[in-house]
Symmetry: C2
Subunit: 368 residues, 2 copies
């Protein structure tokens, strides 16, 4: 482990779960008290609209502004979503206390089975987002996990906290294809780390290349494969690697508007998750492939499609793309109108990306 | 390990690689000899058209029929693909000998870098398929792997054969989120297995549910998460679990035309892979969710979309759907025109699928 663990930053599964249960109980108790005293129960909800999203300099992420709505049982139109949220609070508490996990879809079906009226999954997804904003916790903290699986490989020993595995340790350097990041790994605690940085990689092929070329050994790096846009629990895990292990994080994605945005969302946070603090990684560094790399490395490239052009024009307006390197690269894309994949470095042989590109890029980024 | 390992069926990474290298050398030597003797070199290619696909009763899969094409340098139009294949043979041999892996896309970029003229990736993908049919080996045997990652969990100890890890063993029951099935796991050998069956699961949420409800312990089962249509290397691994470990295989997918087809392709093989033998699992059993389960278990269901209807009408004509349970379920879908997801069992609580549905279904299938 690099340096001493600071109590503040270190993730403790039990502590997080206890916090959520406390908040659930407090909210529930308030509702019951109101009812007993003959008052209409109400809940304050931060407004989750793009107009209520502001950049928080201290947190270095987009967060919800001060606008709130009050949901109250005195309003007949609020009765339905109020009841749905109370049910969800009960379900969340059950999940935590039984040590079971669920997904957005699963939760919808459980609700159906318990005769909670949801028109469709969109409606239950929405209530889950609302509960996140009421609790100030991502849904993973009340055991609702994404379906997608990122994976990780490298010199890190973890200890599980889930029932049946609590206290077991696993060394993440033993299986070179990577360990799926599901509920068990997300809630595991870090025990020992020999790595000195972490590489976050969009593509499975390039993750395998990094393993084969022993990037984990050469750079003492943890390797994380996001399989496209990183799921939220993977973003949170990367943040913990940054904070608890104090490792620099480098993000590698395709040189196109979508790849750029994979890096940007990990670093700046997504608009959709602005109601949840601290699942982005502001210190992470976008390490390529840049638009300018297409020219610099003479990479095989493809012409932008209409979809690429449209996406790029959105990024031009996006507040997250108004400073360098983002602005510089968006401008270059506008001129070049071509894109390249991470795998394009294979033009120079399979070794090139780890043997030549990686040290060059790391030298540039640490000099800056 | 259940029973004795039979030498015939057991996968030995070194043996497979040596076989491929031998075939590559033999083909190359023939070409050189022809040139030296002043003859036009030629290669025989099985015709990979739907008209040349027949069901092989002994192999229990669709295979290419007897029609072949001859590719010869004496035909000016054959020169380009002939040269491309010779380059690919060289690249495949290099991959095997250096212990490195690649993907379809990666291979395209390496070709570009070595000035081998491919119009686009489609053209290089096609040559890779041709080399598979010439060698009679899937591309994974010459180290070209899919980008997608399935994962596995359960009581199985494997031993790696890849460089840097050769001889290392890992117990696949230690990380409950699963081990990614990449190049290392695909080429690993089986050392010891305590499981007595294997469950193949389309959905990540349901895989997690099976782990949480300890289906691996209750049924002594390996759990395999395919993340949708199982990648070919995952199908091959499941076949090895069937053959080498002698385990029954049960496949669980959504009750819709796509879910059905995920089970069907695993069992019967895909038309696209008819030129490769033995990457399907004829003994695997489709275990649901059936169309009839929607009624039987009163599952929450959704109306077919136009796309579902179109897909179903294709399955009606498909030779793989002419016997039960396939025919029966296709007919029921035609009547019902509704679909349900694996997660729909959560209507009866999170435990139901493992505690109630699984034993009922296994009892039905083993009685049959």
């Amino acid at each position: 482990m690099k340096g001493e663990r600071q109590d503040k930053a270190v993730y403790r599964a039990d502590k997080v779960k206890a916090e959520v249960v406390e908040k659930l109980k407090a909210t529930g108790t308030r509702i019951v008290q109101d009812l007993r005293r003959g008052r209409w129960p109400s809940v304050e909800l931060p407004l989750r609209t793009t107009k209520n999203i502001v950049y928080d300099d201290a947190l270095r992420q987009y967060v919800l502004g001060p606008k709130k709505a009050v949901r109250t049982l005195s309003n007949i139109r609020h009765v339905r979503p109020f009841a749905q949220m109370v049910w969800l609070m009960k379900f969340a508490k059950q999940l935590i206390e039984s040590g079971k996990t669920s997904t957005l879809r699963d939760t919808y079906y459980v609700a159906l089975g318990e005769n909670v009226d949801f028109e469709d999954q969109d409606e239950s997804d929405d209530i889950i987002l609302e509960l996140e904003s009421v609790l100030g916790h991502p849904r993973e903290d009340f055991n609702i996990f994404p379906e997608e699986r990122a994976s990780i490989y490298g010199d890190l020993v973890i200890e599980y906290t889930i029932p049946g595995f609590r206290g077991n340790r696993v060394d993440l350097s033993t299986h070179p294809d990577g360990y799926a990041i599901g509920p068990a790994l997300t809630t595991a605690e870090f025990v020992r780390c020999g790595a000195e940085m972490a590489f976050v990689i969009e593509k499975g092929a390039v993750f395998s290349r990094f393993v084969e070329e022993r990037a984990d050994k050469k750079f003492k790096a943890l390797l994380i494969h996001t399989a496209g846009q990183s799921p939220r629990n993977c973003r949170k895990l990367i943040r913990r690697i940054r904070e608890e292990l104090n490792l620099p994080i480098y993000v590698f994605a395709d040189a196109d508007p979508y790849g750029m945005h994979i890096a940007s969302v990990l670093i700046h946070g997504s608009a959709l998750s602005a109601h949840i603090k601290q699942i982005n990684v502001p210190d992470a560094v976008w390490a390529g492939v840049y638009a300018t790399d297409i020219t610099k490395y003479k990479l095989p490239s493809m012409k932008f499609t209409d979809v690429d052009e449209k996406r790029l024009s959105e990024l031009v307006e996006d507040p997250r793309y108004q400073t360098d390197p983002w602005r510089r690269e968006v401008k270059y894309f506008e001129k070049l109108k071509r894109k390249a994949e991470l795998e394009a470095f294979s033009k120079y042989g399979l070794e090139f990306i780890v043997k030549d590109f990686l040290p060059e890029r790391l030298a540039e980024l640490t000099k800056r």
